[in-house]
């Protein structure tokens, strides 16, 4: 005799976000970095920022740090993203 069993996973997936327009060039842009605030992120993001300025012509690099490394970025940081051309985020651990 067969058994009919149920799927335990979350089949109701949330709607995907809308992709931002891609940049053709980084020259003259403002790029923001959102760090989780851990030790490993600090130097790495600083180095990447300098590379973007010297090698890719980025006009301005902005560094922001989340107030809680395990929670989503603070609202004021998320709101600020609108004024940047590109944003880099990641986990430094």
């Amino acid at each position: 005799m067969t058994i009919r069993v149920l799927d335990p996973t979350n089949e109701a997936k949330p709607a995907a976000g809308e992709e931002a327009p891609r940049l053709i060039s980084l020259r003259g842009t403002t790029v923001g970095f959102i760090s989780n605030g851990k030790e490993g992120a600090k130097e790495y993001f600083n180095h990447l920022g300098r590379m973007l300025e010297t090698e890719y012509g980025v006009a301005k690099v902005v560094h922001r740090i989340k107030s809680n490394y395990s929670a989503p970025a603070d609202k004021h940081i998320v709101d600020e993203i609108r004024s940047w051309h590109a944003v880099v985020t990641g986990i430094g651990d």
Partner: protein
């Protein structure tokens, strides 16, 4: 009752069912009870909830958590319908903002969700706070704790290497649930200490590291017993995380008899440990962490945010001077949450 909305699969037999769940990554590595529609419906009926009732939404990834999916995972974990209201209540606590569900379940820190059951439901479902309280003490706590983990794996994709980025994790990630031994103590149950009315069952959830066991069988002085607990907290602050938050203190009968006889309440214990469990940042230099002491060596860090942050639980077998301290995942970044158990509560939350 409404139709269930989950996709279903037809399998030949019990072993085929196991392979279906294992091959899809839907288990914790152990066999599961095949979740049939009738078993899942029995859980939902016991809780008085429709299948599409949303217990909460995991806010970071916007994942809704429905009663139907929780019931499926509870059945897989071995839960009986009478266990399901406890699972529901635990999840309703885990989705509270202060618990920080995404952070606690995805962190490299590797904590597990500890569920502590209080009130009359313990006796109804056979949840024991006696022998082997932090281990495999009984069916109810084993299955309820496992239901929490399977729900995380399957509903929120908290799989090792996926959302779960734990470096090590700990054995409590299979199942981590205890009941307080309310009958064999004069102390106020944890649920009531945290605002639940007498006679109402509750769960307390905390993002918890593994239990750190201690022993002191050589004194009848309450302060000396509690110094051992304080020392364990200080050790954890030095070796693991210096930041204060909630701490769970599990005290077995042999030790609590001494404390109770001398008139110490849970609140007294919280005050004592808040005062004694604290270190200076410069102590990090003693344990190889001198690089992050910086100019704050004299700063004092308490293991407990406040005396009330100490969650004292009466549990354990009748003999042995073994206690345990269970540290929080990362200080006060997460907070223990206590809620009453019962379908009425869940429905009121929705309203």
């Amino acid at each position: 009752m409404q139709q269930l909305s989950s996709r279903s699969y037809e399998v030949d037999d019990l072993m085929s069912a196991q392979e279906l769940y294992h091959s899809n990554g839907w288990t914790d590595g152990l066999p599961v009870v095949p979740p049939t529609e009738s078993a899942v419906r029995a859980c939902l009926e016991r809780a008085g909830l429709p299948p599409d009732h949303v217990i909460g939404v995991e806010s970071v990834r916007e994942q809704p958590i429905t009663a139907e999916k929780l019931a499926i995972n509870a059945v897989m974990a071995g839960c009986l319908p009478m266990h399901f209201p406890v699972v529901l209540a635990a999840w309703s606590a885990m989705v509270k903002e202060e618990f920080l569900l995404h952070g606690t379940t995805s962190s490299t820190g590797g904590c597990a969700v500890l569920v502590i059951i209080n009130g009359p439901i313990r006796k109804e479902i056979g949840a024991s706070g006696g022998f082997n309280a932090l281990g495999n003490s009984d069916r109810a706590t084993a299955c309820i704790g496992r239901a929490i983990r399977l729900g995380l794996i399957n509903i929120l994709d908290v799989r090792p290497g996926g959302i779960d980025r734990s470096t090590l994790g700990h054995p409590g990630k299979f199942s981590y649930c205890i009941a307080e031994d309310e009958e064999d103590t004069t102390w106020t149950p944890l649920g009531q200490m945290r605002g639940i009315p007498p006679g109402v069952s509750s769960v307390t959830v905390m993002a918890s590291m593994g239990p750190r066991q201690l022993m002191n069988e050589w004194t009848h002085e309450p302060e000396e017993i509690l110094e051992t607990f304080a020392a364990e907290m200080r050790a954890s602050q030095r070796h693991y995380s210096i930041y204060g938050g909630n701490q769970i203190v599990v005290i077995p009968k042999q030790l609590r008899d001494i404390l109770q006889k001398a008139g110490w309440s849970k609140a007294d214990i919280g005050r004592f440990l808040h005062e004694r469990a604290r270190i200076k940042r410069k102590e990090w230099a003693d344990v190889g962490k001198g690089a992050v002491v910086r100019d704050r060596g004299e700063s004092i860090y308490t293991a407990l945010d406040s005396p009330e942050s100490c969650l004292v639980v009466a549990a354990g077998g009748p003999a042995g001077g073994f206690g345990a301290v269970i540290a929080p995942w990362m200080g006060h970044k997460t907070k223990a949450v206590t809620v009453p158990i019962g379908a009425k509560y869940v429905k009121r939350e929705e309203a």
